[in-house]
């Protein structure tokens, strides 16, 4: 008799906890789902095509620095940010770049579109999750398996 | 500062935090251990 009573209590507490957990995770899920555009840290150049009123709006655009587009002209850095769908954005930046900004590497630019040119105020380098020593890359290049630049 | 210095700061921070925590925990444990043995003696 006592054991049955204990089991009932345990069941009650278990259901109570499941309800707490379910309520909380649903509310967090709903918050995350409805704010998903705000939580996203940057947009890609492809996303910009479907957005309207982007002129003079403070934005973050992320992608790769297009190969052979990074130039230093009149004290300003000029480059193109390109994504996987080959859509690109022309960027102007007048401060010093972070060390890791290179062609064909990830970048995030923060600023505004002025006359269809993105005037960046902050530039952040975005590195990916691959770590490799130079010797491993040389070996891959010898075998013809290297797919990077 | 160079990258190497930043990396060393990182490792130094980690080392100091771990060492201080370990020492504090060992000291507290010794204190409690002494309290327990003093308590047992009174009994």
């Amino acid at each position: 008799m006592r054991i049955i009573k204990l089991n009932n209590q345990i069941k009650k507490r278990f259901i109570f906890l499941i309800i707490i957990f379910a309520c909380f995770s649903t509310s967090i899920f709903l918050i995350g789902y409805s704010l998903k555009d705000q939580i996203a840290y940057f947009v890609e150049p492809t996303d910009l095509k479907s957005m309207d009123g982007i002129e003079n709006k403070y934005l973050r655009v992320g992608g790769l620095v297009k190969t052979n587009s990074l130039k230093f002209l009149d004290g300003k850095w000029i480059f193109e940010v390109v994504d996987q769908n080959q859509n690109s954005v022309n960027v102007v930046f007048s401060k010093t770049l972070p060390n890791l900004v290179e062609e064909n590497k990830g970048i995030i630019v923060e600023g505004k579109f002025i006359d269809n040119i993105f005037v960046a105020e902050i530039v952040l380098a975005k590195h990916d999750e691959n770590y490799m020593p130079q010797s491993a890359i040389d070996k891959l290049k010898e075998e013809g398996k290297w797919r990077g630049n | 500062m160079t990258s190497l210095e930043f990396v060393l700061i990182c490792y130094g921070f980690f080392g100091v935090v771990c060492a201080v925590t370990t020492i504090i925990i060992i000291l507290l444990k010794k204190k409690v251990f002494n309290m327990v043995s003093a308590h047992n003696q009174i009994k």
């Binding site: 345990i10 507490r13 278990f14 906890l17 707490i20 957990f21 909380f24 967090i28 995350g32 998903k36 939580i39 996203a40 840290y41 940057f42 947009v43 890609e44 992320g62 770049l97 972070p98 060390n99 890791l100 290179e102 995030i108 902050i122 530039v123 952040l124 380098a125 975005k126 590195h127 990916d128 999750e129 691959n130 770590y131 490799m132 020593p133 130079q134 010797s135 491993a136 890359i137 | 990258s3 190497l4 930043f6 990396v7 700061i9 990182c10 490792y11 921070f13 980690f14 935090v17 771990c18 925590t21 370990t22 925990i25 507290l28 444990k29 409690v32 251990f33 309290m35 327990v36 308590h39």
Partner: protein, 235 residues
Amino acid sequence: MFAITPNILSNFMISLSRYVILLSLVLISFSIFLIIFLENDYYQGISFKIMFIHVPTAWLSLAIFLVMGISSIIGLIFKSPTAFTVARSLSPIGLIMSIIVLVTGSIWGNLTWGSYWVWDARLTSMLILAFIYLGHILLLYSFEHFQKADFAASILAIIGLVNLPIVKFSVDWWTTLHQESSVLRMGGPSMTNDYLITLLVSFFGIFMLTIFWFSNIFYIIVEKRKIERSKLLND
């Protein structure tokens, strides 16, 4: 979990703690040796070596919260004092780990991204995790009776479990400045074997250190309670 009293677990852990700290010191010094002679990353240079602290402590801060949440659930359902004490002794360790993650991560971010802190999903959810740890500790020590404190804090730990998948998968669900997972991901690790082995050695070193901390904190809590109880009985 029902037959294991706090006393048994405390004695068991403390009898092992000597070997655990020895193993931890051996593994950590071996990993330091490995890290010094490791070749730099082709792109990030020497700054990627921060990874060997950042990643193990990040895994541990998540794993500790998972254990804390599960033992809070067990404690609440079965009224198990052992489970509550496990959760109680884990939260300071988790707080230290998450502070190390945030500090090393922001130094790494300054070297690679060019900014100490940004408000992207991964960094923000990790900061929230650190604050939940802090809140858990504050709740534990803001009640007069430890049973009440355990009850309140375990509710917080269970609610905080919702944050764990957000921290882990934030880099997949939203666009972030933080890179994606390198080891625990679909398609296997995205680093060469020498890096991976070094990472695992340093992870197990730090893991053993946390086990040592945990067993000592657990011992301290259990013995202090015993002394208080016998003092009350004597009065």
